[in-house]
């Protein structure tokens, strides 16, 4: 009996191999949350893959129907915990659009600054964990060093480090604290040099090149087919950025470029995100220059100033009412609204913004009660994740970590 005749050992083509079905996740260190990937491996080559989600379901859309808008808002922080300013922004903007609230310009600028800072922290964490997936440990710690600085800024501003809950309908919770702009400017000025430092350890590293160049290629058709948005789409050369194409807040007043890739592979996604951090710094710097009202605009101080001026006018015998009230256009108008009982009029609105992961949308139908009639979220991670099997099949098992990492998926946003 020759070896080829032994049943189950040999085939005509060669040694018989068996496929290995391996469940990657939900506790796998590279699945960043709770994702289960049922993967069929032939040796180390991925033959088939199916992402299974739902372990983290937060029922955010149903929750909105049983709570008042303001009660619902703090729970939003947990949807996309790496950039929760964006969730708040689309939620608050949708309400503002339904209620037709006028938002002061200063508030727009504060929102832009915080959102861009949040983009930097989100991309920094992505940078660290993506390279951790590739086996490099140092970048994670470098990234956390700078994240900490932004967190200090956020802590000064909102009192929280990760779960901010800072935006209000028509405004923000509180004005910028004194000295905040100077600290922010310091950070934004030194950040490009720090990104250079990151790039010096990563961008031309031969092993990084070997592991990322040409891996997980995604062209425009694939992006459109699966609804991939954000840096992953722009890496494929699609110039689609809601800040440019559909400007919200005051993005039409600042200058910035939309970084684009050419090949749509893992390496381009890395480059695009690094370039986006630089662009964010540019945007923040312009916002800090342009923000109306300057360093801080404390309402109570302003009120005291006006009272004093009126008192002085009264003593001189002039008409105190000639001195105008606080110009609320400069103020954080949100404080005028009684949040707990706030009822937007009946109506509906869909608001989308460019979150660090792509298009983040919120659709609200209001029936005039304090609770939403229906709410729907469009998370970028959900669509970005759905393309993973298409990119993976035929690649090697270690490429899975590189490709999945490069898509920057946040699982709470997938399961919502």
């Amino acid at each position: 009996m020759t070896i080829s005749e032994i049943p189950g050992v040999h085939t005509e083509q060669g040694l018989k191999t068996e496929d290995l079905v391996i469940n990657i996740g939900p506790q796998h260190p590279s699945t960043h949350g709770v994702l289960r990937l049922v993967t069929t491996l032939n040796g180390e080559v991925v033959k088939d893959m199916e992402p299974i989600i739902g372990y983290l379901h937060r029922s955010k859309e149903k929750m909105a129907e049983s709570r008042s808008y303001f009660q619902y808002q703090p729970t939003l922080d947990r949807v996309e915990y790496l950039s929760s300013f964006y969730d708040h922004f689309v939620f608050v903007t949708a309400i503002e659009r339904i209620a037709n609230l006028k938002v002061p310009k200063r508030v727009h600028y504060i929102r832009m600054i915080t959102m861009e800072l949040n983009r930097i922290t989100s991309h920094l964490l992505w940078f660290g964990t993506f390279l951790l997936d590739l086996g490099a440990t140092s970048p994670l710690f470098y990234a956390f060093r700078e994240r900490e600085e932004v967190f200090k800024l956020f802590e000064d501003l909102t009192g929280a480090r990760m779960m901010y809950n800072y935006y209000r309908f028509g405004g923000v919770n509180a004005d910028l604290p004194p000295g905040w702009i100077a600290h922010c400017r310091d950070f934004v000025r030194k950040m490009p040099a720090i990104i250079d430092e990151y790039e010096s350890i990563v961008t031309q590293n031969p092993i990084i090149l070997d592991r990322t160049v040409g891996i997980g290629k995604m062209d425009m058709e694939t992006c459109l087919k699966y609804g991939v948005t954000g840096p992953s789409m722009r890496a494929a050369g699609v110039s689609q950025d809601l800040r440019k194409t559909n400007p919200y807040a005051c993005y039409d007043e600042v200058e910035f470029d939309v970084p684009l890739g050419k090949h749509g592979d893992v390496y381009d996604r890395y480059l695009v995100r690094m370039a986006e951090m630089r662009e964010s710094c540019r945007i923040i710097e312009q916002c800090l220059d342009k923000i109306p009202g300057g360093d801080t605009q404390n309402i109570l101080n302003k009120q005291a100033e006006i009272e004093a001026a009126r008192q002085a006018a009264k003593e001189k015998g002039e008409d105190p009412k000639a001195i105008p009230d606080i110009d609320f256009d400069w103020q954080t108008q949100g404080q005028k609204i009684n949040l707990m009982t706030y009822k937007p009029p009946a109506g509906e609105a869909f608001v989308a913004c460019e979150s660090p992961r792509g298009m983040l949308g919120c659709y609200i139908i209001s029936d005039g009660t304090p609770k939403a009639y229906r709410m729907k979220w469009r998370g970028a991670s959900f669509s970005n994740l759905s393309v993973l099997p298409e990119l993976m099949i035929g690649n090697l098992y270690p490429d899975l970590m590189a490709i999945f990492g490069s898509l920057d998926v946040i699982l709470p946003e997938v399961d919502r």
Binding site: L20, I22, H28, P29, S30, L41, E44, L131, L132, D133, L134, G135, A136, T137, S138, F141, Y142, R145, I201, Q204, N205, P206, I207, I208, L209, D210, R211, V213, G214, K217, H263, D265, Y267, L396, Y397, P398, D399, L400, M401
Partner: protein, 436 residues
């Protein structure tokens, strides 16, 4: 040309003679050579192994400190002064961890796999020439024995991966087998260059051949390429980043040791660091002059004006300590380099790992051996006593000869090193990106 490193020092039989005389016996211990050899080997090996295990716990701390320093953190600094007792605390904790056995494991193989993995790391310490006397075994084929033994750890990993009843572990074990087979070859071939020069595989004699200053070390001027190949292959052999594929904690969830807990896990951990220490020590011994000082004579010789062989008593002890100092310094330089690489580089993919070894390192080491053969022919006298250069009439002057040979050798090696390495290793970024 070489002295054989002593099997046991001359003072040992004298010491034992004195001791037995005190006990009232008259024995001539010089007649009991084999007994003395075994006695000395056991004593020295126990001494070295104990020191080595302590040193390995220090290595764990050093790794954490070095990486913390590179990533601007503090590292352990609470347990003991400067955190020095941290690893002892960790080991203490690991002792009390539950020894988990998952259903469906092959219990016997699962239990002995860490021991098999640890075995070569332990055996290595008997072969490391710490000084010319602090050497447990002076094997005639020591260099060969090192590589023969180093493959055994693979059996441990494959068994651990197989017996764990875990698919990640299985993948890790399979990767390890492929990796070890691939990197054994460049590792051996890099040392072959040194063996060509010295004509011996005795590690102690290889070190002796490099005495007299750093310009005589093989890794500096004579075969720098071998040093690079050896160190890279050694990193792969001990599963360090960027070649830590069997473990690959972010892909394979720690691979072969996923299911291990408590002291079994600690054994794997310890063995990895012990192997790292041993491989760095062998790099220092083969290529960096071992225990010799970098500037010709030893400091002790400069102070006392005596040759190392003539020193006795406390002076000899001081000389031994100086040798140990140089050796440990060089070893730790390589260990630090490995840690530095860990702080810098990510992990390769299995196919790239294989490709790097078979398509790059092995051809390079073959070219290297060829160049070394030419270099030796030009530079060192063959059996008839004259090198090629010396037989040329125009250069037949004693003063010119070594320098001319040296120049030719250096140019050959440096041409190889710089031209080939720069062409092959660091391809242009644009070219690499254009492959997409």
């Amino acid at each position: 040309m070489f002295q054989t490193p002593p099997d046991y020092p001359a003072w040992l039989p004298q010491f034992l003679n004195e001791l037995t005389r005190l006990l009232g016996l008259k024995m001539n211990w010089n007649d009991f050579g084999p007994v003395l050899l075994i006695l000395w080997t056991v004593v020295i090996f126990t001494l070295i192994a104990t020191a080595a295990i302590t040193s390995v716990t220090f290595l764990v701390l050093m790794e954490r400190k070095v990486l913390a320093w590179m990533t601007q953190r503090k590292g352990p600094n609470r347990v003991g002064p400067w955190g020095t007792l941290q690893t002892f605390a960790d080991a203490f904790k690991l002792l009390f961890k539950e020894d988990i056995m998952v259903d469906g494991q092959d219990k016997f193989l699962f239990t002995i796999a860490p021991a098999i993995f640890f075995l070569p790391a332990f055996v290595f310490f008997g072969l490391i020439p710490f000084t010319d006397q602090l050497l447990a075994v002076a094997l005639p084929a020591g260099a060969l024995f090192v590589f023969a033994i180093s493959s055994i750890s693979v059996v441990g990993i494959v068994l651990a991966g197989w017996a764990s009843n875990n698919k990640y572990s299985l993948l890790g074990g399979m990767r390890s087998a492929a990796q070890a087979i691939s990197y054994e070859i460049p590792l051996v071939m890099a040392v072959l260059a040194v063996v060509l020069f010295t004509g011996t595989m005795n590690i102690g004699q290889i070190v002796q051949a490099q005495q007299g200053g750093f310009w005589n070390w093989y890794g500096i001027l004579l075969t720098p390429l071998s040093l690079v190949i050896f160190f890279v292959a050694a990193l792969a052999e001990v599963n360090r980043i960027p070649f830590d594929l069997p473990e690959a904690e972010s892909e394979l969830v720690s691979g072969y040791n996923t299911e291990y807990s408590g002291m079994k896990f600690a054994l794997f951990f310890l063995a990895e660091y012990a192997s790292l220490f041993a491989m760095s020590a062998f790099t220092a011994a083969f290529f960096m002059g071992g225990y010799y000082s970098p500037f010709g004579p030893f400091v002790m010789s400069l102070i006392s004006g005596q040759e190392p062989a003539q020193m006795t008593g406390l002076l000899q002890l001081a000389l031994q300590i100086e040798m140990l100092f140089w050796f440990i310094l060089k070893t730790y330089a390589f260990i630090f380099l490995a840690m530095w690489i860990r702080g810098t580089l990510p992990r390769l993919k299995p196919d790239q790992l294989m490709g790097f070894s078979w398509k790059f390192l092995i051809p390079l080491s073959l070219i290297n051996i060829f160049a070394i053969a030419i270099e030796k022919y030009v530079m060192l006298p063959p059996a008839n006593g004259k090198t090629v250069l010396q037989s040329l009439p125009i250069l037949n002057a004693q003063t010119v000869m070594p320098w001319a040979g040296w120049l030719v050798a250096v140019s050959v090696v440096f041409w190889l090193f710089f031209v080939l390495m720069s062409r092959l290793l660091s391809e242009k970024l644009e070219a690499r990106l254009a492959r997409r």
